[in-house]
């Protein structure tokens, strides 16, 4: 929550994205990501960070935010890596709840029922 002084190590993540900071495929914090097992192992040219990401995602579905946290990468950098992997067909996404015009009553009822059952 509180800004902390900049750390020189933070430069490194942008090196691993090849210098890009924008994801071409849009990802939200809660977009669910799964590795596409059918694609097989990454080729030898795959960067270590993408390899780590794929290894993490082969275990099962996680949100973009979780992937960033487990890999200790900024969310923006994680999105760039995910975007590349999605374009290469190595991961696929389960879309987050779409932003609808007007609230989704059925979805809210499902959230409410779920919370009531859990708490």
């Amino acid at each position: 929550m509180t800004p902390v002084p900049r750390d020189d190590d933070l430069v490194r993540p942008y090196v691993v994205t090849g210098g890009r900071a924008h994801a071409r495929v849009p990802f939200d914090l809660v977009t669910l990501v799964v590795a596409d097992a059918a694609f097989g192992a990454p080729d030898l040219g795959t960067s270590p960070e993408k390899r780590r990401l794929l290894e993490l995602c082969w275990g099962g579905a996680l949100s973009v935010a979780e992937i960033a946290a487990y890999l200790s990468l900024p969310v923006s950098v994680t999105k760039v890596l995910l975007s590349d992997l999605a374009e290469a067909g190595q991961i696929s996404t389960r879309a987050p709840a779409p932003v609808v015009h007007g609230p989704d009553i059925q979805l809210l009822q499902e959230v409410l029922d779920g919370l009531r059952a859990l708490v």
Binding site: S72, S76, P96, A97, L107, V111
Partner: protein, 203 residues
């Protein structure tokens, strides 16, 4: 930054159930040290996680290498947790910083969010005004939960509602952010409100 003991990198990923297809998010918002992370931790089914985002001092997300190489960047930590609601649906709870200057971060957080739970502290009510303004400016409906600290006087809800200048329809509850049931009930109050609002908008 107030690192909690569990903020160490977790030993292994806790994956979602294979049938989960849809995700939603709710923001837990409040000023510094109001108990956002505590509340997320009380409700999350996984040890809460932390991600960091790099931003410029002016609050924009870094989108240019020149900014990263410059001396004017900071990181902002986001703590979040997860709650699988049924076999298809998962809810993410994001503790969101209440500072307006992180506007790009806020844009990303607010995008598609169902709503926000604003946590307030009776001893620092004035600090909640900018937080509520920020939530409103992003068009997010919200409820207010007063985190009851043991050394604070027992809150008088009517007086608090006046002091916070809340709309009549805005739910106001007292909760103990450390307690799963209490925190969960605050969240249920928010979602019930969101549902009531949505139903009224349709009529």
């Amino acid at each position: 930054m107030g690192f909690a003991p569990w903020s160490e990198r977790p030993p292994g990923a806790v994956y979602l159930g294979a049938t989960v297809r849809r995700s939603v998010k709710i923001l837990i918002v409040g000023h510094f040290a109001v108990g956002k992370t505590t509340l997320v931790g009380a409700l999350s089914e996984i040890p809460p996680l932390r991600t960091e985002e790099i931003m410029t001092q002016s609050g924009a997300l870094v989108d240019d290498l020149a900014d990263v190489h410059g001396k004017n960047t900071t990181t902002v930590a986001l703590d979040f947790g997860r709650l699988t609601l049924n076999e298809h649906l998962v809810l993410y709870l994001f503790g969101a910083p209440g500072q307006e200057r992180f506007r790009q971060l806020w844009h990303d957080l607010a995008y598609g969010a169902l709503g926000a739970l604003v946590l307030a502290d009776t001893r620092r009510l004035q600090d909640s005004f900018p937080v509520m303004d920020l939530v409103e400016s992003h068009g997010l409906p919200y409820a207010v939960a007063v985190n009851h600290f043991e050394d604070a006087p027992a809150p008088d809800l009517a007086a608090l509602r006046d002091a916070l200048d809340l709309l009549e329809e805005t739910p106001l509850v007292v909760c103990d952010a450390r307690d799963r049931v209490s925190a969960g009930n605050a969240l249920i109050t928010l979602v019930q409100y969101l549902l009531d609002r949505a139903t009224k908008e349709l009529v």
